[in-house]
């Protein structure tokens, strides 16, 4: 076998095993054995190119946009969330809060219409302290700021003060629940928002009370 004959049969030689004749030629021909070696090396190294490169991030971005525009990516169905008891309470409070505030406004408006402020509206100190004391309607001790705020209302009718105190206690209760929930799960975005709402609505209660005292 000569080099021309060997090269003619080379493709089969690469894909399979050299015949005895081909092997004899390889043993005697440096050029052909080098050629076979190189072609086998190229063939074996080719798989290095299989996952050699990575597309830019723009490819996925464009692909995702297309998938969304064609409706292949769909927004998940809203899943009803089972809130823990404390958070459920907070949700109910959020709308329920409006009721006592509205009631407080109605009470104040009614009282101011029929009972303008005067000397007779002052409440004895003992009575004030009873109204302000935690034992009357409180569910928990009030803060110093709340005490100060309540003390400004000492001159108000007892029923009004009691109503404000009840609303204040309820607001504080929800704030405590939200704070406790956040201690358990600081990343709970929903409870974070509930806590912000609770403080805002407590502030509204203060403002209502201040408005009333200014009249």
């Amino acid at each position: 076998m000569n080099c021309v004959e060997f090269e003619r049969d080379l493709p089969e030689c690469i894909e399979g095993t050299p015949t005895p004749e081909q092997q004899a030629h390889l043993n005697s021909c440096v050029s052909c054995s080098g050629l076979l070696f190189d072609l086998n090396t190229i063939r074996s190294q080719a798989t290095l190119l299989q996952e050699a490169d990575e597309p830019s991030a723009a490819v996925w971005n464009a692909l995702e946009a297309r998938l969304r525009s064609e409706g292949l990516i769909r927004a998940p169905e809203p899943v009803p969330i089972a809130f823990p008891a404390k958070v459920s309470l907070l949700r109910r409070w959020r709308t329920a809060w409006l009721v006592p505030v509205a009631a407080a406004l109605a009470i104040v408006a009614g009282l101011k219409l029929h009972h303008p402020a005067g000397a007779g509206d002052t409440v004895p100190i003992a009575k004030q302290q009873q109204l302000l004391s935690p034992g009357v309607t409180a569910k928990a001790p009030v803060s110093r700021e709340d005490q100060q705020w309540l003390s400004t209302m000492a001159s108000r009718p007892p029923a009004q003060v009691a109503r404000y105190r009840a609303d204040l206690d309820e607001a504080n209760s929800f704030i405590r629940d939200a704070e406790q929930s956040l201690k358990d799960d600081p990343n709970d975005v929903y409870t974070q928002q509930m806590l912000i709402d609770a403080y805002q609505q407590k502030q509204m209660l203060y403002e209502l009370a201040v408005d009333r005292s200014g009249q």
């Binding site: 090269e7 080379l10 493709p11 690469i14 894909e15 440096v30 050029s31 080098g34 050629l35 070696f37 190189d38 072609l39 090396t41 190229i42 063939r43 190294q45 080719a46 798989t47 290095l48 190119l49 299989q50 996952e51 050699a52 490169d53 990575e54 597309p55 830019s56 723009a58 490819v59 996925w60 464009a62 692909l63 995702e64 297309r66 998938l67 969304r68 064609e70 409706g71 292949l72 990516i73 769909r74 998940p76």
Partner: protein, 200 residues
């Protein structure tokens, strides 16, 4: 960390991702894309030799796949399905551009590229140590498009000659013949590259 990587961290399987993708789950799509993007993109890049074209074709291949994902029954491997789709997308693009998908000559008679060029007096140094991924990549990029297609499909991607014949529309004999010429051409390019570097 993207949600798709979180899915990988939670060891989501490909089968689970396919089922979720059928429901329109964005994270599942991204998971499948991340899993196969390198293979598809590398195939497109090898066959076109152009990064911009390769990225466009990658996007198109995945888009076609995801459009049909609802019909995937799991009878064959998902990767096989994707791979075949990618090859078809690339070949369609090459045909659109008028580039030869299959080398034109069917015969090897009198074909200079079918023979080994022997330089008189030149040492027959083997390519040992001369072939690394980068050098081979560059050499493949320099191949004529027709040779490149056959070489990439057979030696890089592992298709058999009968499969290549069916994909590109040539005979098995032609596929074998052109593959041999592609390898010879690559050897020539790699040796020339080595000689150039030796001169510097």
């Amino acid at each position: 960390m993207t949600d798709a990587r979180k899915l990988q961290g939670d060891k989501l399987t490909e089968v689970e991702a396919i089922e979720r993708a059928k429901q329109g789950d964005a994270e599942a799509f991204e998971f499948l894309y991340d899993l196969h993007k390198r293979r598809v993109y590398s195939l497109c890049l090898r066959m076109t030799g152009n990064t911009a074209s390769a990225e466009d074709l990658t996007q198109e291949a995945f888009l076609q796949l995801f459009r049909k994902i609802g019909t995937f029954r799991g009878e064959s491997a998902f990767s096989t399905w994707l791979h075949r789709m990618s090859v078809n997308v690339v070949l369609m693009q090459l045909r659109k551009k008028g580039l030869p998908v299959v080398p034109i000559d069917e015969t090897t008679e009198g074909d200079e590229e079918g023979t080994v060029k022997k330089e008189p007096g030149a040492p027959d140094e083997r390519l040992t140590g001369s072939i690394d991924r980068l050098r081979l990549q560059r050499a493949v990029d320099e191949l004529p498009p027709g040779y490149r297609t056959i070489f990439v499909l057979h030696d890089v991607e592992g298709y058999e000659h009968n499969e290549i014949a069916g994909i590109v529309g040539c005979s098995i004999g032609n596929s074998k013949s052109q593959l041999h010429k592609a390898r010879l051409k690559l050897r020539e390019l790699l040796r020339a590259n080595r000689a150039e570097k030796a001169k510097k």
